[in-house]
Every structure is written in structure tokens, then in C-alpha cells.
């Protein structure tokens, strides 16, 4: 019997959907045949949702090795007449930007939607880039929904627009859309189009200079047509009337609605769902009888700058507010927007003063989970380094193990981007003398962007230790499979790719695998590897152990540990040097294990000098 999936419910029903699920549903309703992604917060649930129903629908869904490959697969699908979706977090589009920038030149033959989930306030990201710029940069229109219902609707419309203009379309989401749940009324599901054809036509698909020069002229023409089309697009609309115009894009619209209600002011509201290109005919229409304008948008002044340029062209001499009152950093709130609008309308409005607690609250940053194999690896690395009396540079990367930046490990000296650990290690190795470089990278990240810089190191004889923290999943983003797991997005078996085999094949000097739970052996191998690097070698070590959350779920890790108080010396090594969240200190100074937190990895029992931790069975 086939499982009943809520995401496939019949048209007309209303269901609670996460913004990302709503985007997935929109793609299903349009009848896409291909969906691809590399996971990244806050985008991961889009393809995650599609992967679960791929078999039911008969569509092709995959977790790709990185965003560039994901983009290319969906792009090729749309070239061959199969509508497609590719989804990524904002910084993922940087990785895919090479094919992205040329995709406007060739255009497509079927609907092609590129979902960019931006992360204002950087809840789970290294920067706050506003990917609507990419639309202006690449001549690719941007749609920006305000809530889960519109996320679904604009995914369908976006694919239609893409197919109509034979041009890629960006759907820009943000954290407070992708990770907001709300009621969504479902529409009809069209039959997916899964089979394409690709007639030989290189003049259309090969961007050699001669073709590209011609295509550039076509893009400029298309761009004007798309702008005109957006002027009458029903998701852009004027609401209310007044001499003050609030132009609100994306989630900015939702905050504006509540802010206007809170302030109880009469303004004209222009809802924008197509921030790029901003349709000038619509602006002209909205400007009738207006003497002040404020733009509400999350992050950068993408609409504001276009609006100012349009107003200048149209000969308006009007004050435009926006960035000057709302800033460019962080997320919008109703209060922020209300404060900004109140200034423009000349009200003296202040938000309520929240309660102040008279004591300083301890911060609670995210930590490595109990039983996390990365903690054991960091612990072993610290001991190996101490034994050898060296002071390595720890070149870090993007993943759960970024948390190794915290005490007591302090082993992420630099974190920039996916694969950056090995790339930067190539540089440090040439410039910093007397300090070996250790690149620390996760399994999924290694496949994503770690292989080319590793080949570079081998080719250029650049000494380094590449330490792959292999927990056999993409844990940070929600346990997606990757090439090292040998499982495909729909759960069916794929081919397993071994990290150690790649390293051996390209000529890394020393390749070893260890289990971080076996602390003694881990220290020995790390020492051996570090020595080799000091001598000028290139070493790759794989610390392989399943993520403790997965292991617990699969019942591989059972039972919990406890402290034998007759043995414990209260040396606090387990608390101060290992810092497992399941180990706490009682008022009498003895450490104890919190049953509800312990995942049963047993590493505490291996590092305790008097073997005071015992398994509770």
C-alpha cells in the first residue's frame, strides 16, 4: 500500500505547510520532472520533501555533490524540455554562479526555477548576502513571496513565466519564509513532464563568443519584455490610498501589513513580488498623488535603488526612505517597520519596553551533541599535538564540526566557505613557517568542494594534514545522504564513493582511517600523520564514525554511562577537556551523567584516568 503523503493531497484542501514544503508543492503542481539540490539551511526541506514523493510521482530528484552540479542538472533538464527546480542556500548560488551567469544567455525550453533561500541575521550561515543582486547581475528575474501560500503560488507562476519567456527565474526565499509554517490551499497537480529531447542546435546552446554576442542582444530585449509583463503581474498590487506610499517586497509586505495596523495610519501600499526587474509602469501608476515613499525590504536596498533610478528617469523629485531608517543588517520585525513608517508619517511611536532581568544570563551557544564523534576526534587531535609539541594552524570548514571553534578545543582558526579548509591550507602552507597546517573538513563538504584543492596540494607538493571528519551523513542540514553513504535521495542504493580511495588515487603520501571512539589508536594515527606533515608530506586521515544522533536512532548506540563515585578523583578532565553536554557537576563536586542526554558512546570511559565511567546495563 502506498503511504499517503500530505504534500500530495487533493486540490482545494488546506494543509499546514512549511514555506519550503509549499515551494515543493508548487513545483509538483506545475509538473516538474527534475529537482536537484545540495542541502543548506534554510533551503534543505525543498528537495528533502520532493525526494520523499519522487517515486510516487515518477520524477527525478537527487542530492547532488554541490550546487554547481545541481544547477547544471536542472538547467540541462530545462534545455531538453523538462521543467525543473534547483534549490540552494544563498551562498550555494555562489558555487553555482558560473553556469548561472550564462543561463540567461541560452535561456531554456521548459520552466526552470532557481530557489535561493537567503539567511538574514545569519542564523546558520557565514554571510548575509542578498541574492536579489544576482538577478540584476545575471539578467534573471526574481520573484519574492511573503508567506507559505504565496511561496506555493509563485513557484507555479515562476515556472510558467520561465517557460513562457524561455528564461530562468529565481525564487528568493528568506529564513522567515522557508522556515515559517502556515495554512496553504492546494491547487491542481499537473502530470509531470519527465522525458525530454535535445535536437542538435549549438547556435542556441553553445556560448562561444560569436553566439554569446548575439544572445546578449536578445537578453536585453527579453529583459524589457519581462519588466513590462511584471507591471501587470497580479501578485504586484496597490492597496489603499494616501499621499505616503509604502513599497514592500517579499516578507517586508507581511511586516508592513501588521505595522500599518499597529500604527493605525492611512497609507498607500504597493506590494512587490517581483523585485527584479522592478516594473517602471507599475511604479508610475502607484506614484499618483504621492509625496513621500518608504521602501520595506529585507537586507539590501535592491528595490530601493531601482526605484530611485526609475523616479529620477521619470522626473519625480521625491524623498525616498528605506535603508536610511531600516538599515541593511538583520531581519525585519513589525517594530522595526512600524518605527520606520511612523517617522515618515510624522508620528512619535515607540515600541513597548520589554522586561529586563536584573541578572546576566549565561549564553547558551550550540554545542556538539553528546556522543558526537567529532568531539572525540578533536580531543585526540589535541593530545597528539600536545605530545609532539607543535602549534598547527587549524583551517576549518562548514559543518557541525565548525563548533570545534569553542572551548575547550579551540580548533577552528579560520572558517570561510565550503571546501575552504583545504584551499586556505594550500596558502598558509606556503607562507607560515614552522607551523604545520591541519585542514579539518566533513565528509559531505569534502565531496562538495574539497577534492580540487586536495589535488592542487598533491600537484604542487604542499604539505598539510587533511583530517576528514566522516560521520557518514550531512548532519548539520538534516541527515541527507551523500556519495560516501552510497544511498540516493529517494532511499535507493547508489554507488558508494570512498574518500580514502580518492586520496590514494591522486597520490596523497599517507592515507589512514581511524575510529574516533578508539581514542588511543586515534591519537597514534594523528601523531603519525602530523609527523609526516612536519617532514613535508601530504596526509589524509579519515575519522570515521556514524553521527551519534543517527546511531541512537538506529539503536546502534544503546545504554548510558554512569560515574562510579568510589573511583572518581574529581580531576574534572571529563568536564574541562572533553566537555560532553551529558556530563555535569553535582553540588558536592562529583561529575555525573545525565541519563536523558547520554547517547552511550562510551568515550568518557576511555579517557578517564581511573576508569570511573561504567556502562549502566
Amino acid at each position: 500500500m502506498t503511504k499517503r503523503y500530505e504534500i500530495l493531497r487533493e486540490a482545494g484542501s488546506t494543509v499546514l505547510l512549511l514555506g519550503n514544503e509549499a515551494i515543493a508543492r508548487g513545483a509538483i503542481e506545475y509538473g516538474i520532472g527534475v529537482a536537484t539540490a545540495y542541502p543548506g539551511t534554510p533551503s534543505s526541506e525543498i528537495v528533502g520533501t520532493l525526494s520523499k514523493v519522487a517515486k510516487n510521482l515518477g520524477i527525478y530528484v537527487e542530492w547532488s555533490i554541490n550546487e554547481k552540479t545541481a544547477f547544471e542538472i536542472a538547467y540541462a533538464a530545462a534545455m531538453s524540455g523538462v521543467p525543473s527546480l534547483t534549490a540552494m542556500k544563498h551562498v550555494g548560488l555562489n558555487v553555482a554562479s558560473d553556469p548561472f551567469m550564462s543561463s540567461a544567455y541560452t535561456g531554456v525550453r521548459a520552466g526552470f526555477i532557481i530557489v535561493s533561500a537567503d539567511d538574514p541575521y545569519m542564523h546558520s550561515s557565514q554571510n548575509e548576502q542578498d541574492n536579489r543582486w544576482y538577478g540584476l547581475h545575471g539578467y534573471i528575474p526574481v520573484l519574492e513571496p511573503c508567506d507559505p501560500q504565496e511561496a506555493k503560488d509563485l513557484t507555479v507562476r515562476g515556472l510558467e513565466i520561465s517557460e513562457f519567456f524561455q528564461h530562468p527565474v529565481i525564487l528568493r526565499s528568506v529564513t522567515r519564509l522557508s522556515h515559517v509554517r502556515g495554512p496553504v490551499k492546494l491547487g491542481e497537480i499537473r502530470k509531470p513532464r519527465i522525458e525530454g529531447f535535445f535536437p542538435r542546435e549549438p547556435s542556441r546552446w553553445a556560448v562561444v563568443p560569436e553566439n554569446a554576442r548575439r544572445m546578449k542582444q536578445l537578453i536585453l530585449d527579453k529583459w524589457r519584455k519581462i519588466e513590462d509583463f511584471f507591471a501587470d503581474f497580479p501578485h504586484n498590487r496597490v492597496e489603499g490610498d494616501g499621499s505616503i506610499l509604502v513599497v514592500a517586497s517579499g516578507v517586508g509586505y507581511c511586516y508592513t501589513l501588521e505595522a500599518i495596523e499597529l500604527l493605525n495610519v492611512k497609507v498607500k501600499l504597493l506590494k512587490i513580488s517581483t523585485p527584479v526587474p522592478l516594473p517602471r509602469k507599475l511604479i508610475l501608476k502607484a506614484m499618483d498623488g504621492v509625496d513621500k515613499v518608504i521602501v520595506v525590504e529585507e537586507c539590501d536596498p535592491v528595490v530601493e535603488l531601482q526605484l530611485k533610478s526609475i523616479l529620477l528617469d521619470l522626473g519625480f523629485n521625491i524623498k525616498v526612505y528605506g535603508e536610511n531608517l531600516l538599515g541593511r543588517a538583520g531581519e525585519l520585525t513589525v517594530d522595526k517597520v512600524a518605527k520606520a513608517i511612523s517617522k515618515v508619517v510624522g508620528l512619535n511611536w515607540l515600541p513597548p519596553t520589554p522586561y529586563k532581568i536584573p541578572i546576566e544570563l549565561p549564553p547558551r551557544p550550540p554545542v556538539l551533541c553528546p556522543g558526537c564523534p567529532h568531539r572525540a576526534t578533536f580531543y585526540a587531535l589535541k593530545i597528539a599535538v600536545k605530545k609532539l609539541k607543535i602549534d598547527p594552524i587549524y583551517s576549518g570548514d562548514i559543518g557541525c564540526y565548525s563548533l570545534g571553534i569553542q572551548s575547550p578545543f579551540n580548533m577552528q582558526d579560520v572558517i570561510i566557505e565550503m571546501g575552504g579548509s583545504i584551499g586556505l591550507a594550500n596558502g598558509f602552507s606556503h607562507t607560515v613557517r614552522g607551523r604545520p597546517v591541519v585542514a579539518i573538513i566533513g565528509d559531505s563538504t569534502f565531496f562538495h568542494a574539497g577534492i580540487p584543492p586536495l589535488v592542487n596540494a598533491v600537484y604542487n607538493k604542499t604539505p598539510m594534514l587533511v583530517l576528514v571528519l566522516d560521520n557518514e551523513t550531512t548532519a548539520m542540514t538534516g541527515f541527507q545522504p551523500h556519495p560516501g553513504t552510497g544511498v540516493k535521495a529517494d532511499g535507493s542504493p547508489g554507488n558508494k564513493v570512498y574518500i580514502e580511495n580518492i586520496a590514494k588515487a591522486i597520490g596523497v603520501d599517507l592515507v589512514e582511517i581511524f575510529d574516533p571512539y578508539d581514542v588511543k589508536r586515534a591519537v597514534e594515527i594523528l601523531e603519525k600523520g602530523l609527523k609526516k606533515v612536519v617532514e613535508g608530506g601530504i596526509v589524509l586521515l579519515v575519522a570515521r564514525r556514524e553521527c551519534s544522533l543517527n546511531a541512537r536512532r538506529r539503536d546502534v548506540l544503546k545504554s548510558v554511562y554512569e560515574v562510579d563515585r568510589s573511583k572518581c578523583l574529581k580531576c574534572m578532565l571529563c568536564v574541562n577537556e572533553f566537555a560532553c553536554p551529558a556530563i555535569r557537576i553535582r553540588d558536592d563536586g562529583y561529575p555525573y551523567v545525565v541519563d536523558s542526554l547520554c547517547n552511550g558512546c562510551g568515550v568518557c570511559s576511555k579517557i578517564c584516568p581511573v576508569k570511573a565511567f561504567t556502562r549502566k546495563d
Binding site: 494543509v15 508567506d147 501589513l257 544570563l361 553536554p581 555535569r584
Partner: protein, 212 residues
């Protein structure tokens, strides 16, 4: 009955706690029940890095005309704190005379020395112009021999306040379907014990909030 003060067009609820306590599930269950009842709702949550044992906030807004996903400080009608220290962090969201539904779960940050003790936390909270009721969710979890039910026991406590909006049987149905029998029990016990506390006025009502 304190729940009378929640007969209004909209309700803003902030759920605070520690990553791993099931706050997203809490919000999702509430949301599904609302959709069943035809009530408009927005739930904003954070995923990813912040979930690894860090502080977590989930914003729930329900009622007609609700659009914006976040609740700014000073607006929430109810704050549900599934952990005591996080209650101190989350109380800034409460409006004057709002209700804090507090659990008995205490998880001091692992590296913290001389953490504030539960008694001291409640003492600090009692001085604020808010109303406080405690749901002994950990006790319920211990009785049911499953620590994962803490969140749903707290949800039961919340329902005791808002059953005029979402009746217990609707939420029970969702919990049973999504999470199974133990959670359904936790929900009911959380609800009943909170209800009883309300009846017996076993809660802290601020002197500055006499009207409701």
C-alpha cells in the same frame, strides 16, 4: 479563569527552550490543530546550527489577519518555557500581565559554573509584572518513563489556557496520529494538572495585574 483574557482576535505565543527539546514539533502540532479548526496561523522556527543544544525560540501567531512571522519583545500573550534558564531569556517577549507557562526542566549550559538554581530563577521571575504557572513536565516524563514527552506535556499545559480556541480533543487527535500513545498521555496529564492549578489558583499572579 485566567483563560478569559485570551478571548481576543489574535494570540501571540513564544515557545522557548533548548535545542533538542522538541520545540519545532510543539509548534507543528499546534499548527495542525489550528488548520483543522480553520484558524489562521504562522509559526516561525529556526533550523540548522542553532538546533545543536543552543537556545531555541519558536514564534506562534494565530488569529485573523496574522501575517508577520516574528513576535517582537513586549507583545506575546503567552511565553511557554520548556526549560528554566531559557524562561529568563524568553520573558522579554511577554507583554505586561502576560502569562509565563514554565516547566520544571533545568538544563544549565554545560560549561557554566555557578549556574542560577531553579529556586533562584523562580524568585527572579516572581518579581516581574507577569503571571506564572508551572507545569511539572519533567515529573510527568518521569512517570511515563520517556524524557522525550516533556514538550508535549508543556503543550498540554498551554491547551488548558487556550482550549476555547483549540479544544483538547482536536489536539489529542493530532498528537496521537503524529506522535503516538505516550505523547497523548503526556498531553492529557499536562492539561489536567494545569487545569487543576488554575482552578485552585495555584499560580503566581502579579499584584499589578488584577483585572483579568
Amino acid at each position: 479563569m485566567p483563560s478569559k483574557s485570551f478571548y481576543k482576535k489574535r494570540l501571540d505565543i513564544v515557545i522557548v527552550g533548548v535545542g533538542g527539546q522538541g520545540l519545532i514539533t510543539f509548534g507543528e502540532v499546534l499548527g495542525r490543530a489550528c488548520v483543522k479548526r480553520g484558524i489562521n496561523i504562522r509559526i516561525a522556527e529556526t533550523h540548522g546550527m542553532s538546533q545543536r543544544g543552543g537556545s531555541v525560540e519558536v514564534f506562534v501567531k494565530l488569529g485573523e489577519g496574522v501575517a508577520a512571522p516574528l513576535i517582537p519583545p513586549g507583545y506575546a500573550d503567552i511565553v511557554v518555557a520548556t526549560e528554566l534558564i531559557e524562561a529568563l531569556r524568553g520573558v522579554k517577549y511577554l507583554r505586561k500581565c502576560g502569562w509565563l507557562i514554565l516547566s520544571d526542566v533545568y538544563i544549565p549550559p554545560p560549561t557554566m559554573k555557578n549556574a542560577l538554581k531553579p529556586g533562584e530563577i523562580i524568585e527572579v521571575l516572581n518579581k516581574l509584572p507577569i503571571n506564572i504557572i508551572q507545569v511539572n513536565a519533567e515529573e510527568i516524563a518521569r512517570e511515563l518513563k520517556d524524557f522525550r514527552v516533556v514538550n508535549i506535556a508543556m503543550l498540554g499545559g498551554l491547551i488548558a489556557f487556550i482550549e476555547h480556541i483549540i479544544p483538547l480533543d482536536i489536539i489529542e487527535e493530532v498528537v496521537e496520529y503524529r506522535l503516538g500513545e505516550v505523547n497523548k498521555k503526556a498531553l492529557r496529564i499536562g492539561y489536567e494538572r494545569t487545569k487543576e492549578k488554575i482552578m485552585l489558583t495555584k499560580f503566581t499572579k502579579s499584584d499589578n495585574c488584577s483585572e483579568s
